[in-house]
């Protein structure tokens, strides 16, 4: 049974995209990756509106004090096993905003992150690369442990 669930998860991972205070460029590139030009739906990847149905949480942007409790709440609402992808330089390390006055991040300071995709913004190809890496991680997490 758990093998079947893992198989389903790899064949069609559902993404939840959370903007934790990014400049919006990374969000646009993520949507780019979903357009027919790059088409991550080839891998069964679907953008999902609710964290309760999602397998992968894609966080863009530096986590600021406003979004911090919301990010935590969303992370708690996701079913196990959770995969978190930090998209962009901001989410990875803070990047250009790292010395801002309202910064609570980067993302891995708040929640555990599995895959980092540096780039400001990353190319859609780099995002696909990162998501493929995340899928490999889901495969490694077989059995639903986290």
């Amino acid at each position: 049974m758990s093998g079947l669930i893992t198989w389903a998860r790899i064949k069609s991972p559902w993404l939840f995209h959370f903007n934790s205070g990014s400049c919006n460029n990374c969000d646009i590139e993520l949507l780019d990756a979903l357009t027919p030009r790059f088409d991550v739906e080839r891998f069964g990847i679907l953008l999902e509106g609710s964290p309760r149905h999602a397998d992968v949480l894609v966080v863009t942007g530096i986590v600021n004090r406003q979004t911090l409790p919301r990010l935590k709440r969303i992370y708690d609402q996701m079913p196990n096993p959770k995969i978190v992808v930090a998209l962009g330089t901001c989410a990875t390390s803070g990047g250009i905003f790292s010395e801002g006055y309202n910064i609570a991040g980067p993302v891995d300071k708040v929640i555990p992150v599995d895959v980092y995709i540096p780039g400001c913004p990353p190319r859609p190809q780099a995002i696909i690369d990162g998501i493929v890496k995340a899928l490999a991680k889901i495969q490694a997490l077989r059995g639903g442990k986290r």
């Binding site: 027919p36 790059f38 891995d108 780039g119 400001c120 190319r123 190809q125 780099a126």
Partner: protein, 189 residues
């Protein structure tokens, strides 16, 4: 009208093949002017620190490795702005076409070049690299140089100031031993 357009698009796709980039299965090179990960030419870089001072995100650091000095850039923090390529006096750093930087461990996406370091002959503080000292000597050679210029370029600014004061004004500052080269050489070892 839009429906007609869609049908035409469909026919075009039949002839030209799909519009989608087959990325993970086929390489998808970026355009020539793409700003990917900045890479240093180890032959040219002198660890002068101009890129380190000008990087807007402080992605670049100058590391003191004892006998060597390293210029280290962390792509996890770099925003690919190409400021470092603009300020580099040696034109040692160039934006490459590398973009697939995604990783499980963010600390490992970095590039480091190292070269022999030049330390202050008196206090042992890191000044710059050997290569930079040679460059500086090369550039000032046209001027009449004092006899001890080799020693002067291998001191940190603070020790240099004290040394100058000692030599020029005949001051004897208690904390600075007058001529300390033999001591310094043994200290270096």
């Amino acid at each position: 009208m839009t429906k007609l357009k869609a049908v035409l698009e469909g026919f075009r796709a039949l002839i030209k093949g799909p519009f989608t980039v087959r990325y993970p299965f086929e390489p998808s090179p970026p355009p020539e002017t793409f700003r990917g990960a900045p890479k240093r030419d180890i032959e040219k870089c002198t660890a002068c620190g101009a890129c380190y001072q000008n990087c807007p995100t402080k992605a670049i650091s100058i590391l003191d490795l004892g006998k060597e000095v390293a210029v280290d850039v962390w792509y996890g923090k770099c925003i690919f702005c190409a400021r470092c390529t603009e300020v580099c006096p040696e034109e040692a750093v160039k934006m490459s076409l590398t973009y697939d930087l995604s990783t499980y461990n963010k600390e490992e996406v970095r590039e480091s070049v190292s070269m022999p370091a030049q330390r202050c002959q008196i206090c042992g503080k890191l000044i710059t690299s050997d290569r930079q000292v040679d460059k500086v000597i090369d550039r000032v050679k046209i001027l009449p140089l004092p006899l001890n210029y080799h020693m002067m370029v291998s001191l940190c600014p603070e020790c240099k100031r004290k040394q100058q004061a000692t030599l020029l004004l005949g001051l004897r500052v208690e904390r600075v031993p007058a001529i300390t080269i033999p001591v310094a050489v043994s200290e270096k070892k």
